[in-house]
Subunit: 326 residues, 2 copies
Amino acid sequence: MVTIKDVAKQACVSVATVSRVINETGYVHADTRKKVLDAVEQLNYTPNEVARSLYKRKSKLIGLLLPDITNPYFPQLARGVEDGMQENDFRIIFGNSDENERKEQEYILTFIQNNVVGVIASTNHPNSDMYAKLKLPVVFLDRTSSDSPSVYADGRKGGRLAAEEIIARGSRRVTIMQGPVHIRPAQDRFQGAVEVLKQSGIEFNVIQTSSFSFKEAEMWAKELFNKHLDTDGVLASNDIVATAVLHEALRLGKNVPHDVQIIGFDDIPLSSLLSPALSTIHQPAYEMGREAAGLLIRLIEQGKVENRNIQMPVRFVERDTTRKAD
Amino acid sequence: MVTIKDVAKQACVSVATVSRVINETGYVHADTRKKVLDAVEQLNYTPNEVARSLYKRKSKLIGLLLPDITNPYFPQLARGVEDGMQENDFRIIFGNSDENERKEQEYILTFIQNNVVGVIASTNHPNSDMYAKLKLPVVFLDRTSSDSPSVYADGRKGGRLAAEEIIARGSRRVTIMQGPVHIRPAQDRFQGAVEVLKQSGIEFNVIQTSSFSFKEAEMWAKELFNKHLDTDGVLASNDIVATAVLHEALRLGKNVPHDVQIIGFDDIPLSSLLSPALSTIHQPAYEMGREAAGLLIRLIEQGKVENRNIQMPVRFVERDTTRKAD
DNA sequence: TTGTACGCGTTATCAT
DNA sequence: ATGATAACGCGTACAA
């Protein structure tokens, strides 16, 4: 490994001078600068980030904690974060929490031990004191917390939109798949949908679900049609669940969207590829990731920030599991 | 931040002693050990990994470089790696390369600067000297290199399997979508398929593709049916391309699998959810990730290793885009 | 404009 | 069995 000392020796100057030219701090004569730069070139020197991090007590690393990168919603989010960070010379230590508080703790700990300068987390325990105690800027992504900066989609609006659209397109016996109670955005969506449905006096049922895994989603889809075979409109808690419902409806010989309309949530890449393609509420996942990155960077570099909560817009994407509006 | 000094002071011992109990190195009296442990507990001390890393010139970090986490094949891989590493107390610095050599270089550089102890990369330039020069263990994942450890699926076998199955199920005018030439596994698949096709004297055409993006895949799908409208069997280079072909076939009013059979490659989660569900060659992506992690860890901890190249098995998954075998 | 010397938090060596 | 201290590579007072 070639260190700053080697460069200093090669350039016949002190390490302090080398440091100054590297970091462009303090005065240094043009000639010596050149000598140093040449030495750097020749030796192929690059500063050791670990030593820097130790001295400055902060690194160029941030921690990213996601429930499960294998869930098709999260890669977009992750990519947005990565691109935003990459462009600003931050790197990412990445972990999957599986919505498991212990794993989450473990990662937060190693984030600290590695001097990360900030954390982006998609957690169901935003108010846990493990975050409160953290002396670092934290941005919650796809999750809301009363008193921490966060980036999230307008779930309530999304829920309302979905309900409005399914009504406008003629469903009169709606079933809402209520997402996991501990996941805030899922509840926002649910609430939004319920509001609209109640307001318009449309009859509706609720099926309670407790995860977003496809395997389980299949079970709830069966339960749904068991209990409410005549439902003519399903508001799913996300696209995975919607996909399972679609499968089950097709399996039962129902015509989608004629017999039953289905609207998902998230607009994961899968959705447009199904047949029939899934109508859904689009969340700008990639952009949300980028926003989170931007917000965290501002927090890191400026300490505080104007707009601590960024709510991203959602929109209805009309595809083939809904009928044409009247 | 609470340091080893604070603990030492609190326990009325020297930092050396604290270090000894923390790392369980050297003798220390049971009583003093207890004093130290109590102090650690009270102060909530955890060692600073950065300082450790500086002194030992190695961290508990590894670098993971993937083309694009947004491509549905990679999350499985990433998750496998992460789980394998996590269980052995290694953390991951993660980056997307976009198959772009410059980005790749950048990441490799920051990996080095952060004292990572190993790298897992899914790169198209495994023989680039940026890897050769690397003084670190590198494992190539889903990519082969003549002289570096790697974990990859048996692409040739997969290609052969796909061809054999499509023939056995009655296709006689087959089209192969040849994947990007610079991606080794894609070429292996292609080669395997060609071998079988030639051997059995079946007529076949080739459509050349140059990426795995869905947008472009749609174009090639159109090109495919433009040039070879009467093809009755398509061997796609991966499931994304297969999905596009399926869409186009359906759009043209073809009956799948009656008029045309389609076999994909990878078995991404999407595939089983399509209608008709996609028949494909399954790669054990998650397990490949885990294997790569295991291999790298062995390389890190033992320097060298028995089996430097791990070839994973593939298998045909029969779903609904192929007919029943005769 | 440049160099010396210390400190960042750890671990390991060498005394004691 | 324990402590003092050098070293890891870097950045910055402070002195020159």
